[in-house]
């Protein structure tokens, strides 16, 4: 093991997040390398200092009681609200209709949405009306646009009953012509949405467009500098 590798692994070494095998290699290195040992000592000191001295301020009882009381007041809230039907009015944006995708697996019947699968699996289904019949599915294309949260978008624009604070955003793509797209789950899409603060980033995507479902299969993407 070289010093730079050891250095990167000091935090997980201290936090006991390394495999046995790596741990042994690290120990061997520390035995013979003075500078890494010094580094380890300093990192351990920092860890200990923070763990012992970072202040812990408990919530005061008044606040706690108030929150609990308010929660008890919410008796009217249906625990199964996810199952009720909601309406999402779909309005055409540009040439194609807008696509709306939601989490939990959704069955779209006209404008009526029924949640059928609340088992936490993220399975965005996209609906679409008023599509252009001329666009073939699987068309290779390069499109530019912005990464958006489809959930936030349909909530803000159509009052969809949706809250991203629970499970995070449902990232999708709005091409510069205003169309919304969901990503097929592949490595490229995974990498793209893992980018910090990805929402609003201008992106150029090369990939296959599935117009009838408004899914985009990213072959390659690049972040466009603003």
């Amino acid at each position: 093991m070289i010093c730079s590798t050891v250095n990167e692994l000091i935090a997980p070494y201290i936090d006991q997040e390394l495999s046995e095998e790596t741990l042994i290699k690290m120990n061997e290195h520390f035995e013979k390398c003075n500078s890494c040992r010094t580094e380890l000592k300093a990192h351990m000191g920092a860890h200990r200092l923070l763990a012992e001295k970072l202040e812990h301020t408990p919530v005061n009882d008044d606040v706690r009681d108030k929150i609990i009381a308010k929660m008890r007041e919410q008796e009217t809230a249906s625990p199964n609200w996810l199952f009720k039907k909601i309406h999402i009015p779909l309005r055409p944006v540009t040439g194609f209709a807008i696509a709306a995708s939601l989490i939990f697996g959704i069955l779209f019947i006209g404008d009526i949405v029924e949640f059928t699968n609340p088992d936490n699996t993220i399975r965005p289904i996209v609906i679409n009306s008023g599509m252009s019949p001329v666009m073939p599915d699987g068309l290779l294309a390069t499109v530019t646009g912005e990464v958006v949260c489809v959930g936030c978008y349909i909530r803000e624009n159509y009052n969809a009953e949706h809250d991203c604070d629970i499970k995070g955003h449902i990232f999708g793509f709005q091409s510069s012509d205003g169309n919304l797209w969901s990503f097929t789950h592949n490595e490229q899409a995974e990498n793209l949405i893992k980018i910090d603060e990805v929402t609003g980033k201008k992106v150029k995507i090369e990939g296959k467009l599935y117009y009838s479902a408004h899914f985009i299969n990213i072959d390659h993407y690049s972040i466009v500098e603003n």
């Binding site: 730079s4 250095n7 990167e8 000091i10 935090a11 997980p12 936090d15 997040e17 500078s35 010094t38 580094e39 000592k41 300093a42 990192h43 000191g45 920092a46 860890h47 200990r48 200092l49 923070l50 763990a51 001295k53 970072l54 202040e55 812990h56 301020t57 408990p58 919530v59 606040v63 706690r64 108030k66 929150i67 609990i68 308010k70 929660m71 008890r72 919410q74 008796e75 809230a77 625990p79 199964n80 609200w81 996810l82 609340p118 936490n120 809250d163 991203c164 604070d165 629970i166 499970k167 995070g168 893992k194 910090d196």
Partner: protein, 192 residues
């Protein structure tokens, strides 16, 4: 799942409300403001309660709550709280180099009596220098003791990112608290 709202409330209070101290403590460190911290946990708890069906029994409820807290903070409060300038992710400095840069005046050595009040001010001051991404990872690891995997889930980041942020956050904190660290024996300089 629950036969009545009362049952749901009972389950929620047993599983979730017990973690309110931890959430409040983090909220306070994120917002620097008691009122915002109260609002933030209140909102997080309301959401958690409303969506309690989605919590998977057997997994960590505390981690689930922290994820909701983090999302609520990002979506609503982050813009409000002034964030320090982003530090360069790519500069990998060792502790030893960081500390070498900092001139430490032996004459300024601290009096025992003022050490503790000094420390809490200094720690809070040092924390304000961390941007939210670093601070959150530091709290989740060093205060709350979550595993890297749990932190990665809460923060929606790969484990590698968590590892480097944590390492970086500890270094930045240590640099700013060096005087205390030396006095209290958290760091001994190598004598050559």
């Amino acid at each position: 799942m629950w036969d009545s709202i009362q049952e749901k409330q009972k389950a929620f209070e047993e599983e979730a409300v017990t973690h309110m101290d931890a959430l409040y403590n983090s909220a306070l460190k994120l917002t620097y403001n008691e009122d915002d911290a109260k609002d933030l946990i209140q909102e997080s708890y309301f959401k958690a309660f409303r969506f309690f069906e989605q919590f998977e029994p057997g997994t960590s409820c505390k981690a689930w709550l922290f994820k909701i807290l983090k999302n609520t903070f990002i979506n609503k409060y982050r813009k409000k709280v002034k964030q320090p300038e982003q530090v360069d992710f790519n500069t990998v400095e060792s502790f030893v180099d960081l500390i070498k840069d900092k001139n430490y005046d032996e004459d300024e050595a601290l009096d025992d009596g003022i050490v503790n009040s000094y420390l809490s001010d200094e720690i809070n001051e040092a924390l304000t220098k961390l941007s939210y991404e670093f601070k959150m990872v530091l709290i989740l690891s060093d205060v709350e003791g979550f595993s890297y995997k749990e932190i990665a889930d809460i923060m929606d980041c790969p484990i590698g990112t968590i590892r480097s942020r944590l390492s970086r956050a500890r270094k930045m904190m240590f640099k700013n608290l060096l005087k205390y660290a030396k006095k209290e024996g958290y760091y001994q300089e190598e004598k050559d």
